[in-house]
């Protein structure tokens, strides 16, 4: 680099030789990427092409029926029905976030006890491993697949849907909560320990108040996600807007689909607004 030309040096750019990690990453990533697109194109062969004039007509008539004149007319008892379905959807989401929140907050100390204990006993270590594995597993499987299993045990309805949603979100909130507890300053907990506080007392008095604001943010963030997902969990759990929408689509009652879509978007926006207001109040 002993060149006298400063300009050259400022703009000199030595390309890094990719290391083994980058080479494996590129060597696997690019073939997977190409193979995936090839797969999609091959699979689409023989199916109706997505972009064709005929399809444009179909889409136009579909949209025309979903948001057509019939959508805004209530023929008899349909508008109240949509309202009841909407309340079912909201109730399912509230039960789901309540269950997920309570279980993760109660079980979080098991996942983080390893830190409190300098000696990190056998029990604390295995608690950590089991809880982390549980968080990962419940999180990896989507709500809908959990719902398929849950309806085997719980009779279909809003509670079955709520449990399926709660299982997945238990993993999400548990992981986020455990991460934020582990990045806490330990001083208050150590101080409590020196006064002889038990581990339960240390968690309730020392840890929870410090993470409560973050936990609240996570809970509201997940509630917003749950509200959107409730509609599709309804497919399996046989309740709420999603179930009715799927039924209406298969019966070609497109005007009802339009009303349900509007109700769905309104609920999503309401929860967004609510969570903004609450976060402001608890700031």
């Amino acid at each position: 680099m002993g060149t006298s030309n400063t300009r050259d040096r400022t703009y000199s750019f030595t390309p890094k030789i990719p290391g083994p990690f980058a080479l494996t990453f590129i060597g696997l990533g690019i073939p997977i990427f190409i193979a995936s697109w090839v797969f999609i194109f091959v699979e689409s062969q023989g199916k109706r092409s997505l972009f064709s004039l005929e399809n444009l007509d179909r889409a136009q008539s579909f949209l025309g029926q979903v948001f057509g004149a019939d959508t805004w007319k209530s023929r008899g008892a349909e508008l109240p029905d949509v309202f009841i379905l909407a309340t079912d959807t909201i109730a399912m989401s509230v039960l789901a976030i309540a269950l997920a929140g309570v279980f993760s907050v109660v079980l979080l100390p098991l996942a983080t006890a390893r830190q409190d204990d300098q000696r990190a006993g056998y029990l604390a270590n295995s608690g950590y491993a089991v809880m982390r594995a549980l968080f990962v597993f419940t999180r990896a499987v989507p709500e809908l697949l959990w719902a398929l299993i849950v309806v085997f045990i719980i009779s279909p309805g809003i509670f079955a849907g709520a449990i399926a949603l709660a299982i997945h979100n238990f993993g999400v909130i548990g992981r986020l909560g455990a991460d934020s507890i582990e990045s806490l300053d330990r001083a208050p907990v150590v101080a409590l320990e020196s006064t002889g506080a038990s581990s339960a007392q240390r968690y309730v008095i020392g840890v929870l108040p410090l993470v409560s604001r973050q936990l609240l943010t996570f809970l509201f963030y997940r509630w917003e996600v749950i509200i959107r997902t409730t509609a599709v969990v309804g497919f399996v759990a046989a309740s709420g807007i999603g179930y009715q929408m799927r039924l209406d689509l298969s019966l070609f009652r497109y005007d009802e689909v339009g009303r349900l879509l509007i109700a769905y978007v309104v609920i999503v926006w309401m929860v967004d607004l609510l969570s903004t207001l609450v976060r402001r109040a608890f700031k």
């Binding site: 990427f33 797969f39 990896a140």
Partner: protein, 264 residues
Amino acid sequence: MISMITNLLENRRVWILFFAALLMWSASPVDWVNLTNEGAGSAIRSIVGSFLAPDLSPKTMGEVIQAMWITLAYAVTALSLAIFFGLPLGLIASGVLSTDQRFVLALAVFVRAYLGMIRSIHELIWALLFVSAFGLSPAAGIIAIALPYSGIIGRIFAERLQDVPEGHITACQVSGASGLKLIALARIPTVLPDTISYLFYRFECAIRTASVLSFIGLGGIGFQVHIAMSDLKFETVATLFYSLLALILIVGLIGRSVRKRLLT
């Protein structure tokens, strides 16, 4: 009157009462007496037993690996579409393209509203609508996932671009950069590591979503779960769940090491 409402909205006790009431109201329609199906006890036992001893026979494993590949292919194509459209839209929505041109700001507001709309509808609802409008095809499935995902990616990218510390921008301005150069040399490099690790998180989400495309009639892990459930083959269901876990763990591990490498 208005100040009373604002005070009420900022009172924590009011909110706690509100949510307690909401929870009671939500729990009231549940039929607590007939909560479980008949024979729930034995169903739980056989499900838990299957998860402890999943079906690992070569025939099942072959099907599971094929299902994993289909799910991965849907996730990769959907996510690449979402990134292709989401990042440029996010760049426009951030409003950093110009400082005070009215047109650019109006465009930003418009794009932000569009991104908000497409992400407020769940990907499977999009999928159902697409299938009704266009008919069933893998393309409909991946576009249905790509739409809300581009909305989320665009929003996150826009927020990150806006939050770039002033120092980074000033440093580039001092050395003579302006306009688009500032975006390319100050804003984007600052947000790149975080954005890439966020995209890996979205990849995990895309795998989860792609696994349930069976609900509109496309193949993959969810489709095999459906079949296994209707045959009451819980051992196969367990294998499929674990295969989903494996896919997501691998993506998570790669994401974490890429992030580590980008930050050092």
